[in-house]
Symmetry: C2
Subunit: 214 residues, 2 copies
DNA sequence: TGATGTGAAGCGGTTCACAGCC
DNA sequence: GGCTGTGAACCGCTTCACATCA
């Protein structure tokens, strides 16, 4: 085990490993070697071992890893053993779709608020999630102990929204607006840029040989 | 100019550069140096020059790049000078949100079909986009000349859907299902994994110092 | 014996620094 | 003089290969 800075590449893979382990656990597998895990899910065994070794010695030589044990370790490492409150800013199509998406629940994320500035939307609900006035953002964040913000507003408004999010003390942001956002280094902003993803795909459409899933 | 394999990192940045140039062009800027472009949009000037140099010599020494000229070059390189037909498989919340999203139009993508297997959805429309029976997938792909597929079905169905997509001859896929998909190397699959993105953010919530937008 | 944990090598991408050209 | 295009240096991540240990 090392004391190094962990890259986002590693943490993303931990999330993938966790998903694999959940699948294995559900189908009754008790132990698995890095080799077998790699073969089953198209990963690299050395990378699995190295990623895990950043955080401890979870394996048993000659045996492999205990599936349920490792799963719990990963959940703890990723901070998924505690619930995290999430808000979504921008109650458009994408924002409401995400608010309604059940897939986050098993990771212990719960969407507790939507925000918008459109009077006609404020006060309504999407599923159990109420749409609040963005003017009340700070208050609701404090009240609900929101830790993560998802930004689904138009590009032109995104930086302004992010500034407000940072001012409210939120340290983790998932941004869907197709712009590069600037924030203090103490705030982790991850941008999911669908336009860039598609445009990048478009390039490879015209190439003789293509790559595969990454 | 080199003849090398272009990485997805490069093509993604080209998409970003294009967006920057469109903004500059709209505000009347005629020429720009890589240095200034980098400063304005938080990029790296050497990287801009190197990325562009893979495709030609677009700049003028002592001057910089002609904004409109470079923009058109990038549009052509990314294949955005021609329209690309897109279909979305899975007419749930996310699929319909994407079908209704206008942001792709200016990149010359047009969503021409949604697919589902749910009888109650088939035949309906989201905006101008009709929901078809997935059983008719091959026929509609051929008829509409669809080149790109977006997968927004549940995880358990995604691989099966991808296999069908590949069989229909589609070479570019954007996948939102939280699973690693396996496809032939001639097909480019890009996965946008929201669960992994959030779980990765969750990790950084508990860390003393965090990174910034990447 | 068999699989982990890990130093070392390898590789790809980024940044530097400057020759070359407008 | 100023900025591009690019070889070289650098850096970080991935993969290899093996000493180590249950």
């Amino acid at each position: 085990m090392k004391v190094e800075k962990i890259s986002e590449l590693t943490t993303s893979r931990l999330s993938v490993y966790l998903r694999c382990l959940e699948e294995l656990s559900a189908s009754g597998v008790r132990t698995i070697s890095s080799e077998e895990l790699a073969r089953k899910f198209r990963l690299n065994s050395a990378q699995i071992r190295k990623d895990l070794a950043y955080f401890g010695e979870f394996g048993v030589r000659g045996v492999g890893y205990y599936v349920d044990d490792l799963r719990e370790h990963l959940r703890r490492i990723l901070g998924l053993d505690k619930e995290h409150k999430v808000c979504i800013i921008g109650a458009g199509r994408l924002g409401t779709a995400l608010a309604d998406y059940n897939g986050f629940k098993k990771s212990n994320f719960s969407v507790v608020a939507l925000f918008d500035i459109d009077e006609s939307k404020i006060g309504k609900s999407i599923g159990n999630v109420k749409i609040y006035n963005f003017a009340d953002f700070h208050k609701i964040v404090r009240l609900e102990k929101i830790e993560i913000a998802v930004i689904t507003v138009p590009a032109y408004a995104a930086q302004q929204v992010l500034d407000e999010v940072v001012r409210a003390g939120i340290k983790a942001v998932l941004n869907f607006a197709p712009v590069t956002l600037i924030a203090d280094a103490s705030v982790k902003v991850k941008t999911v840029d669908l336009t860039t993803s598609l445009e990048s795909l478009s390039y490879f459409l015209n190439q003789p040989v293509n790559g595969r899933d990454e």
